[in-house]
């Protein structure tokens, strides 16, 4: 069977990772982003990662062969042949809706239109298309070539066979696909909230220190404690996800952000990327 032609819209962190996943698995991939430099940077990043993988003997084909499958394009129109389009642009509903209304017109009737959104509604994104039944969430995790999970999200009008098709394609490229309904945070970003929030409440009420909490949690089998993990993800990013889930659930108290998060963000010490968060890091 021929492998589906893939289009990726947005060549940032997620988009170029997703393009790599499909190219490595043998799919033809069209990659679109707004500016030439960004498209070049995306190809450069992919090439760099593939070379390293190849060096470690992790690829079954030469890097050049894989790279030949990826074509960067400078208009959305050039994506019309794609059978599965995965959108991974900035997390803004207006931008995504604009893209989906165009894709809906230029792509074949049978093409599946997927969004990699972490926090926006699939149903709302689909509402600007004539065929919301073929719009679906395909939520990869960062870094996309490494993390195995993909949340396949059914919007209110998504056809079941579209979900199944996406689950199948994701499995074929080596991912673990799960089926999720269109609810804020889907599964991972929702169920992970208390891991951080309870830790913050425990630290905030002086029940245990940040360091003690991390030591205790690691002793149960977690690779990182909740504070080390926030430092890695970025305290600002973690705080933004919490605030978004909290608002999306109409301020359900379980999701209420904690003052300690906000104060860390206000201080500018937002984790590893600034050299300091809950812990201090050497900056080379």
């Amino acid at each position: 069977m021929e492998k589906a032609i893939i289009a990726v819209v947005g060549g940032g962190t997620m988009g170029n990772g997703i393009a790599e996943v499909f190219a490595v698995a043998g799919h033809s991939v069209y990659l679109y982003d707004v500016a030439l430099e960004i498209r070049e940077k995306a190809l450069f990043d992919i090439t760099d990662r593939l070379r390293r993988k190849s060096g470690r003997g992790k690829l079954s084909e030469p890097v050049e062969v894989i790279l030949q499958r990826i074509r960067t394009v400078d208009t959305l129109d050039e994506l019309h042949q794609a059978e599965l389009v995965i959108e991974a642009v900035v997390e803004r509903m207006d931008v995504k809706q604009q893209i989906f209304s165009v894709l809906d017109q230029i792509c074949s009737q049978t093409a599946i239109l997927a969004t990699n959104t972490s926090s926006l509604s699939i149903t709302e994104t689909a509402s600007v298309t004539k065929h919301p039944e073929r719009v679906v969430g395909m939520h990869f995790f960062n870094p996309a070539p490494v993390m195995r999970l993909v949340e396949v999200v059914a919007g209110q009008f998504t056809e079941a066979f579209v979900v199944e098709k996406v689950v199948q394609i994701a499995s074929e490229v080596g991912k673990l696909a799960i089926r999720v309904t269109d609810t804020p945070g889907f599964v991972v970003n929702r169920v992970a909230r208390p891991f951080y929030l309870e830790a913050l409440r425990i630290a905030g009420s002086q029940v245990a220190s940040v360091q003690a909490i991390d030591r205790i949690i690691k002793s149960t089998g977690f690779k990182m404690g909740p504070f080390e993990l926030q430092d890695l993800i970025g305290i600002d990013v973690n705080y933004a996800v919490t605030a978004s889930v909290y608002e999306s659930y109409f301020q359900e108290s379980r999701f209420r952000p904690h003052g300690l998060q906000r104060s860390m963000v206000q201080s500018g010490n937002i984790g590893k990327k600034t050299g300091r968060g809950y812990y201090s890091y050497d900056r080379q």
């Binding site: 995790f141 599964v187 425990i202 949690i217 977690f222």
Partner: protein, 251 residues
């Protein structure tokens, strides 16, 4: 280390794990039973009873038979240790500990309640655990302590999501293991520890901290009413009964 003769209060998988862990370290474990026995030879008391009324009765009963010097270690899972200590005539020898995963964790959470004022009593209490190989981590006296509080809330959120039909139990577990590197899925972990244990931690926090955020998910409540505690009872979020359906049907 000097081996102790330990009187263990509590039943069910949690106390089995405690008994097992102590016996492995050379201690002699005596189980508490309702029939009047003489426990005066015990030199340590460990308590892991969940039900508040039962634990109060058991502790009061045992205290009449042991000397006032005998240290008493109580679970800090569901109540303030200061409250548990307050039930006793000699509360100054009571300290708290976290019994979940006792056999697998190197670290042990311990609580020094307000009544344990003497430094020497506290040193003796922590030494008991250190001599048995634990790295003790002192936490403040608060129901649920650290790990049980965090895990119970993760399980609760997973239960809300499952009850709302967001994803299947199996998919929720896969999501947390592969989307964010959890060592176990929250629902399979709950089945191992026991849904009855998980919900009692949530209820303890709900009552003592008084916040709506700790309200147990409806599905978790119903499963525990139906005695689907997990592995211990054969069914929880998954089924462990004689496999007719392949590999354990998810709820």
């Amino acid at each position: 280390m000097t081996a102790s003769k330990i009187l263990l209060l509590g039943e069910g998988p949690q106390s089995e794990e405690v008994a097992h862990w102590l016996t492995d370290r050379g201690d002699e474990v005596v189980r508490f039973s309702e029939t009047l026995e003489n426990y005066s030879s015990a030199d340590v008391v460990i308590e892991v009873i969940r039900d508040s009324t039962l634990r109060q009765l058991a502790l009061a009963h045992v205290e009449t038979m042991i000397s006032e010097q005998i240290p008493i270690f109580v679970s800090g899972l569901t109540a303030y240790v200061a409250e548990v200590a307050s039930w006793l005539k000699y509360p100054q020898r009571v300290s708290g500990f976290q019994p979940w995963l006792l056999t697998s964790m190197d670290v042990l959470e311990v609580i020094r309640p307000l009544q344990m004022e003497q430094e020497e009593q506290w040193l003796r209490a922590t030494l008991f655990w250190q001599e048995r190989g634990k790295q003790v981590e002192q936490v403040d006296d608060c129901p649920g302590m650290v790990f049980p509080r965090i895990l119970a809330m993760v399980v609760n959120e997973a239960s809300f999501a499952l009850g709302e039909g967001v994803a299947s139990a199996k998919d929720i577990d896969i999501a947390m293991k592969h989307g964010t590197n959890y060592p176990f899925g929250p629902l399979e972990w709950a089945d191992r520890i026991g849904l009855d244990e998980i919900i009692s931690v949530l209820q303890g926090m709900h009552v003592h901290l008084g916040e709506d955020a700790y309200r147990p998910a409806p599905l978790l409540q119903k499963l525990t009413y139906a005695k689907r505690f997990g592995q211990s009872s054969g069914r929880g979020f998954y089924s462990y009964l004689a496999q007719t359906d392949g590999q354990g049907a998810a709820h």
